[in-house]
């Protein structure tokens, strides 16, 4: 198994305009404790680096749709799929809260129920792969299990892993639609102002977020 990049467990970084929230930290700590996690894991550190000035996030507020366990799972998957590297990851960008808001405000009862069931299936699968509670498994085992699940989901077992693929799709959509995802990880121009049909790529060139 290929090792995860070391950046996952992570250095701290000064984020302009970020205002770490004690209540949010306490919230996540509480969740981790409630599911049996003991460490003040790096997950918490990244969680509190959330870009609190993001307009969507301000509106999203504290998670209300997810149970503590669901939030812990979504937070962990969010962090493992799009971790902090030289830019913030999806956890710090607030993707779990945005997902919570989506299902609270957008999802019908049917979609909510499918999503909960999907999360349950994902966790069962990951528990089986790690032979323990995935959420409290050592980081290396979490990564290894998720990597296996991901490979399965993208190699001809699409239907069987539809819940995972759907969640991953949403995590990516939300991350690349946040300010950090769009403007720091990728690039974004609100008003391009002109059309250039051909620009040369260089090593710094990045995908347009939109």
């Amino acid at each position: 198994m290929k090792n995860m990049p070391t950046q996952l467990h992570s250095k701290t970084q000064v984020i302009p305009n970020a205002s770490p929230s004690i209540s949010r930290r306490q919230l996540l700590m509480g969740i981790m404790v409630s599911v049996g996690a003991t460490a003040t894991s790096s997950c918490v550190q990244r969680f509190e680096k959330t870009l609190a000035n993001s307009p969507n996030l301000q509106q999203a507020g504290s998670p209300q749709f997810y149970t503590d366990n669901e939030l812990a799972l979504v937070s962990q998957l969010t962090d493992l799929i799009i971790p902090e590297t030289d830019t913030l990851g999806a956890l710090a960008a607030g993707v779990p809260q945005l997902l919570d808001q989506l299902y609270r405000q957008w999802g019908s009862v049917v979609s909510q129920s499918l999503h909960r069931q999907g999360l349950k299936n994902i966790q069962l699968e990951l528990n089986e792969l790690t032979q323990q509670n995935f959420l409290t498994a050592p980081a290396e085992q979490q990564i290894s299990a998720l990597r296996y699940l991901d490979e399965q989901a993208f190699s001809g077992h699409k239907q069987q892993y539809i819940a995972y693929r759907h969640l991953k799709d949403l995590i990516a959509r939300f991350y690349y639609s946040t300010e950090v995802g769009a403007t720091q990880e990728l690039r974004y121009q609100l008003v391009p102002g002109r059309w250039e049909a051909s620009i040369l790529m260089d090593e710094q060139s990045r995908t347009w977020a939109v």
Binding site: Y188, P192, W208
Partner: protein, 567 residues
């Protein structure tokens, strides 16, 4: 003494033109719009970033089920939380269809109508389109030919602002153009390869109603150049794409001769058998439901093809028991749209070092070649392809987790060329809108009963178009082609292309058509209809430009009659 010289019913693509032309020529004009005002500062959402649109800009699912089921089914890519006020609530504006024959009636009720949400693709009809009905016997002959409309195309294009390239194609005449959006290197390669393989086919820059070099006239209306944001579905604060809101209505209003009344739902047109004219327009206020009648010497009906037909059918009198101006029994018949189904995209290699800057509002166009430069096709008439090239964007639907997943999305993916067919639908009198005799809306007006389906020619045409799409991409060296030549096709639902046409067609014979060559009702001298209803056939080109030209032509004819005292 009438209160106004002219009443224009509908403020959208064609109504805006009539308001402008009539008001600029000195007539006192009343525009009746059934929906609310649009205020750009409040109603346009074109400056929102992705992180300012909660929930990925999705409308809540329960709300879609309740209010936007059909609009969302039809154009989910354009019906969003931030612009849902540009679309009708299906719950408030129902219509009925026969079992098993669904129809997508996709629309917005507000000042500017669908000119605010159109796709802005802008093509002239060619000489062949005005001759098609006569040639193959479907529909009735157009009472005009290309040369009759050509100067009016020039006229409206100069005002509206169309970007495009001069190509000299007989079947797709050039417009008065502002500079085109340049093709990408991949599109240039696709063009070169396709044109060398197929001598009768061309790949050209899409022609779009976007300002790329605004004229003084356009600037004076507060319009500016396209900022290449591709936020057009949300309205345009720069007025860079043509809409009634950005162009024709401001021009009408600055004359001081034009009044717009909003929330004014037209119930019916009163007919005076003595004068053989429309004597009044009966209106229901959308909120108070108060009924009033406006009078004018001339009435232009521009409510859109289905709604204009409905207004005529609702206007019954002793002279016209089957609906106003309907001695021919053609009102509501020959409902057309365009048909899609054929499409394909594929990967072009060799351009990995290139990318683009900006979000161009159009891409490429492959003008019709079937039964033009290539003969012996198993279908009548033809189709064109819209398309574009792009590099595959970031995606959650790719394998990998962690840093490698981020890195994979940091770089754009393969270059793809995508083409998408729009074909002509034959006029067929059985495709029809009529009054639902059992159901009414909340204003007590009968629902439209829309009975429309695709015909055999459309099916055969799309089958052939799919083969063509595949082979064009294959012969241009593309790989990973998304849809094969024999791929199963699902034809677009009637109405889904949002090009309703034909329900009050022009023609030479009052027995078989509703309007004469000036879009004036054969049976009622002071009634003109210049929305999609007037079209005897639809070509395969996006039709708005033709509505504009027909409107300006008809309005100027009506002005002449007005000053001659004939109306």
């Amino acid at each position: 003494m009438p209160e106004y010289d002219a009443i224009v019913i509908g403020s959208g693509m064609s109504g805006g033109w009539n308001a402008k032309e009539l008001a600029e020529k000195g007539l006192r004009v009343l525009v009746l719009e059934r929906g609310p005002k649009i205020e750009p500062t409040k109603d346009y959402a074109d400056f929102l970033t992705p992180w300012q649109t909660p929930n990925l800009d999705r409308i809540p699912e329960d709300e879609i089920a309740k209010d936007y089921e059909i609009q969302n089914r039809g154009v989910s890519y354009a019906v969003k939380q931030s612009n849902k006020h540009f679309w009708v609530k299906d719950s408030e504006h129902p219509y009925s269809t026969p079992a098993g024959k669904p129809y997508d009636w996709l629309r917005g009720y507000h000042t500017g109508g669908r000119s605010l949400t159109w796709a802005r693709q802008t093509y002239r009809l060619g000489p062949q389109d005005f001759e098609a009905n006569k040639k193959d016997g479907h529909g009735t002959d157009w009472p005009i030919r290309y040369d009759d409309l050509a100067p009016w195309y020039d006229y409206v294009e100069t005002f509206a602002g169309i970007s495009g390239s001069k190509e000299g194609l007989a079947q797709l005449p050039d417009s008065v153009f502002q500079p085109p959006f340049e093709l990408t290197s991949v599109e240039k390669a696709f063009k070169q390869r396709t044109e060398s393989t197929y001598s009768g086919r061309k790949v050209i820059p899409a022609r779009v109603a976007h300002l790329t070099q605004p004229t003084e006239e356009q600037k004076a209306l507060g319009r500016g150049p396209c900022q290449v944001r591709n936020m057009c579905d949300k309205g345009c604060s720069f007025g860079a794409y043509f809409s009634a809101n950005s162009a024709t209505l401001p021009a009408a209003m600055r004359t001081g001769n034009c009044t717009i009344v909003n929330n004014a739902i037209v119930d019916s047109l009163d007919y005076d058998p003595e004068t053989k004219r429309i004597s009044g327009v009966k209106v229901i206020d959308a909120h108070s439901k108060k009924v009033s009648t406006y009078t004018a010497r001339i009435v232009f009906l521009n409510a859109s093809a289905i709604a204009s037909a409905m207004i005529l059918l609702q206007s019954k009198s002793a002279t016209f028991p089957n609906g106003l101006a309907n001695h021919s029994d053609q009102v509501g018949r020959n409902l057309m749209d365009h048909v899609s189904a054929a499409s394909a995209n594929g990967v072009m290699s060799g351009f990995d070092q290139e990318y683009y800057y900006g979000r161009r509002p159009g891409g490429i166009y492959i003008p019709r070649y079937g039964n033009i430069t290539e003969q012996d096709k198993p279908y009548l008439r033809g189709f064109g392809f819209q398309g574009r090239s792009f590099r595959e964007p970031w995606s959650g639907a790719k394998p990998g987790i962690g840093e490698e997943f981020k890195q994979a999305n940091r770089q754009p993916g393969d270059w793809r060329v995508s083409i998408y067919c729009f074909g002509e639908i034959l006029p067929n009198p059985q495709n029809r809108v009529s009054l639902d005799h059992t159901k009414t809306d909340k204003w007590g007006l009968p629902l439209a009963y829309i009975d429309c389906e695709m015909g055999q020619n459309e099916k055969v045409m799309m089958r052939e178009a799919q083969k063509d799409a595949y082979h064009m991409l294959e012969s241009a060296g593309l790989s990973k082609i998304s849809k094969g030549p024999d791929a199963e096709l699902e034809l677009s639902r009637p109405g889904n292309r949002i090009h309703e046409m034909g329900t009050a067609r022009m023609g030479r014979d009052p027995k078989t058509s509703v309007l004469n060559k000036w879009c004036q009702a054969h049976d009622v001298a002071n009634l003109f209809i210049t929305d999609g209803a007037c079209m005897p056939s639809g070509g395969c080109q996006n039709p708005s430009l033709t509505y504009m030209a027909l409107s300006a032509r008809a309005a100027n004819y009506a002005v002449d009659l007005f000053y001659q005292g004939a109306l």
